[in-house]
């Protein structure tokens, strides 16, 4: 089975065959994720004028249950550089909104383009333009896995399907962390804002980001120990639970603990807050805190470590890593099971 990386140099003919022979995609595996997109097969000059890399997202609207998404424009830092969204007024630039649907008789498509799902740009709010007539069939590169996908665009004009050479791969990247206003109407955002105002214990998005950086550094997985990295796991359920379920006293206590760990490096020899420390500095700082003589400082780390473990071990693929092995038998011990009285 080819990987997304293998397909970077594939010809149009090979790519089209992969679309025709691709594997079905389970929409549930897409929900809540952002994918790194890479354009394939376009002339360099076109890529220079547009983009080589981008993000596609998949978000289930809780009101309608429909699966929507949007493209995120990325800074063109290179094929293997980390994704860095372009920002406008501090927010990621999004475009090309779409709904993800299953192929059906009422959706015109080229013959054979029915193996996976269809990204339909005509079913979401978009400015007038070519995207209103564009659809992308999407298939999985491996059976049963939605980690790597292949797509291509075609146009539907006057009932006729026109194929284009705009192939792309999608590689699972991270959980989505925002929803554009076109999908979360302003009045709902206001309501959420109001709710935030009424709930001063709720961490802000910035604070949650700090917490996640601390979680990632505390766990430090994703290296040669063979465990998934913190960045790769699904934290949605954890944050959802943590937003409401703990006692108010604990939620109130978390903020000062978090701020202590974030800003303590400034006055403890590192000269800058935690989020500006290098990986090596973060490790040194945490080791130092673990041995700190001050109860509150130590307890702050214990609390953040506990939360990090809760978040990390909630993810199904992390749990699968520990649930698979068989129970070790220790049968010879059975006869020793009881001693009454004893030497105590």
């Amino acid at each position: 089975m080819p990987t997304a990386r293998d397909l970077r140099t594939a010809s149009h003919r090979v790519l089209r065959e992969r679309i025709l022979d691709g594997h079905p995609v389970d929409p549930a595996q897409l929900e809540g994720w952002a994918y790194r997109g890479t354009s394939l097969g376009l002339p360099t000059v076109v890529e220079k004028l547009t983009w080589k890399t981008f993000q596609k997202t998949f978000w289930r609207d809780p009101r309608s249950g429909r699966l929507f998404g949007w493209n995120v424009r990325l800074e063109q830092d290179g094929l293997d550089a980390p994704s860095r969204p372009k920002l406008r007024r501090g927010k990621p630039v999004t475009e090309w909104n779409y709904e993800v649907i299953a192929p059906s008789a009422d959706v015109p498509r080229p013959r054979g383009f029915d193996r996976g799902l269809i990204i339909d740009y005509s079913r979401a709010k978009n400015a007038p333009g070519p995207m209103r007539v564009t659809k992308d069939p999407l298939v999985a590169l491996s059976p049963g896995s939605a980690d790597e996908l292949l797509g291509v665009s075609y146009l539907v004009v006057a009932g006729r399907c026109l194929e284009t050479p705009t192939y792309f791969t999608l590689e699972r990247e991270h959980r989505i962390d925002f929803v554009p206003e076109v999908f979360a109407p302003a009045h709902e955002a206001d309501a959420e804002q109001a709710a935030r105002g009424l709930d001063p214990l709720k961490l802000t998005a910035l604070e949650r980001g700090w917490a996640e950086e601390l979680f990632a550094a505390i766990l430090a997985t994703g290296g040669d120990e063979g465990l998934p990295s913190f960045a790769s796991i699904d934290r949605t359920a954890f944050w959802h639970a943590f937003a409401t379920a703990p006692s108010p006293m604990v939620r109130a206590g978390l903020r000062p603990m978090l701020h202590t760990l974030v800003f303590l490096p400034v006055v403890s020899g590192f000269g800058k807050p935690f989020f500006l420390l290098s990986e090596e500095e973060r490790a040194r700082f945490l080791a130092k805190v673990a041995g700190d003589s001050r109860y509150f400082v130590r307890q702050s780390l214990v609390t953040l470590k506990t939360l990090a473990c809760f978040a990390y071990f909630d993810d199904p693929k992390v749990r699968a890593r520990f649930d698979a092995a068989p129970i070790a038998p220790i049968a010879p011990l059975a006869p020793l099971m009881t001693r009454e009285g004893g030497a105590s």
Partner: protein, 501 residues
């Protein structure tokens, strides 16, 4: 059992609700379920009010954080404040804490009952050991209480037995209220197989079969009392509607040693030391690393105990819980922690329950009860001793390394001589120990003297007629052993007094 147990789900009750029964019971945990079953089977009409929701075994998930958010009060983050801040865990679900406990079943030790009697003659005359023991026998019969089967115990339990045996200390398989346990190790997240005979699988269905009614999602806020007699309870449904449930004969409070005194105080029922005298079994745990896999999260959740130190106020138990919680007990941060996580199956955590002398207090707070509890100096010494014993037992069982986890002492211990030094050099500062609190008692204690107790020896409130307390609030002190069976036995006796009233 897949049919719904509850007649009403407060999440769906949006209009004012009124109802009436002979006896209204607040709380569906071991105490409330026992009162409901006993009375219903005697033909008394009962309504049980539970703040939590009904859950079926198929709803129980393995993930620690999700289980705690769904089944535990405040996600298990209720805190008692004092010289060491300790979380205390309570279930908030139909069946109460029995749904999320380790199914450990102990009878009330004779010496405890004798001590109660010696301290309060009226109590001793009204509540005899033989009567309690007979009630315990009935409870145990229904709950199928048996020693843990070695075949499903799993390594952590068997190793604890091995360690205690090597040290020559009394130990035994824990007697548990299960039927068909396969050693999944998920007692604390709710048994997905329905094998634990928690209240939602035993006494509550019995009560319903006898005509009892259970309303879930109902938060009781006040006991309505007029002219010295309890008449009803009022509160809010989970959907926000008001309710009033009237009691023709009695109101029975069985909401736990934390919630019951708060309910009494909120209702203006401040007779006696209500909310004072909180006693408990603070717990401390120690982690050890073995060369072979232990898989602490598999096998009977708590299947073996060391009883040979009970005379010191220390009882050791194997602790099984979700991988997330086990990970929090593994030492290290950063890459050191990651390497240890990769070998998480080698780690075991054993705990010690301390029969502490400390007495705390409970008061209603603005949003949650305010619980204050500080260990005495002697309690801290006992805790330090318990850490040493846990370390010794881990090493005797074959642990390669033990992690006392107490600041100021070496992070890693590899031999008994080193561990022995802990008892001499380990910290005596309470805040240096990571502890949690289980088994709460004594906040509406029973006794003959209204100045020193809240309810009479027959469980009736001293100052208010037709009001009873049936939960562990009435215990005059802590037990040194797991209290579920004792709570149920006393609740059965309480129900008997209500029925005869």
């Amino acid at each position: 059992m897949s049919a719904r147990l509850c007649e009403l789900d407060g999440r769906e009750v949006r209009a004012t609700l009124e109802a009436e029964a002979d006896v209204v019971i607040v709380g569906s945990g071991p105490a409330g379920a026992t009162v409901a079953r006993t009375l219903a089977q005697r033909g008394v009409s009962v309504i049980v009010l539970e703040e939590g929701h009904e859950a079926q075994p198929k709803d129980f998930v393995a993930s620690g954080v999700r289980a705690m958010a769904a089944l535990y009060r405040d996600m298990g983050t209720s805190i008692a404040f004092g010289n060491v801040s300790m979380p205390y865990l309570q279930g908030r679900v139909v069946g109460g804490t029995s749904v999320v406990n380790g199914a450990i079943s102990w009878r009330l030790p004779r010496e405890i009952v004798e001590a109660w009697s010696a301290a309060d003659r009226a109590l001793g005359e009204a509540l005899t050991y033989d009567e309690i023991a007979a009630a315990e026998a009935r409870v145990e019969e229904r709950l199928n209480v048996r020693p843990t089967d070695p075949a499903i115990a799993g390594a952590k339990n068997l190793l604890l037995g091995k360690g205690a045996e090597a040290l020559g200390v009394a130990h035994r398989p824990i007697r548990r209220n299960v039927d068909g346990c396969v050693g999944e190790g998920r007692c604390l997240q709710g048994c997905p197989h329905g094998a634990k005979l928690s209240m939602d699988r035993s006494f509550l269905p019995d009560a319903v079969a006898a005509g009892g009614r259970i309303f879930a999602g109902m938060r009781v806020e006040h006991v309505v009392h007029q002219r010295g007699r309890a008449r009803a309870v009022t509160g809010k449904t989970a959907a926000g509607a008001r309710f009033e449930i009237r009691a023709r004969r009695a109101v029975v409070l069985a909401a736990s040693a934390i919630q019951t005194p708060c309910l009494l105080r909120r209702s203006g029922l401040t007779q006696g030391p209500v909310g004072d005298g909180l006693s408990a079994h603070p717990g401390v745990s120690v982690t050890g690393r073995f060369d072979a896999p232990v898989r602490n999260w598999r096998g009977a959740t708590q299947g073996h105990e060391v009883t040979g130190h009970r005379h010191e106020g220390i009882k050791l138990e194997a602790l099984g819980f979700d991988v997330s919680l086990l990970a929090t007990r593994v030492p290290g941060v950063g890459q050191d922690f990651a390497r240890r996580l990769a070998e998480l199956d080698r780690y075991a955590v054993w705990g010690a329950a301390i029969r502490a002398r400390a007495l705390g207090s409970v008061r209603p707070g603005p949003t949650r009860p305010l619980v204050r509890y500080s260990l005495t100096d002697e309690d801290v010494r006992t805790t330090r001793r318990a850490v040493r014993i846990l370390g010794d037992t881990l090493l005797a069982a074959g642990a390669r390394e033990v992690y006392p986890g107490v600041p100021g002492f070496d992070a890693v211990v590899r031999d008994p001589a080193h561990m022995a030094r802990f008892e001499a050099e380990g910290s005596l500062v309470a805040g240096d120990y990571a502890m949690s609190m289980t088994h709460l008692f004594g906040t509406a204690r029973m006794g003959g003297d209204p100045a020193k107790s809240v309810v009479r020896p027959d469980f009736r409130h001293h100052a208010t007629e037709a009001l009873y307390v049936a939960d562990s609030s009435v215990f005059p002190g802590n037990l040194g052993v797991n209290p579920q069976i004792a709570i149920m036995a006393l609740a059965e006796l309480c129900a008997d007094r209500v029925a005869r009233s």
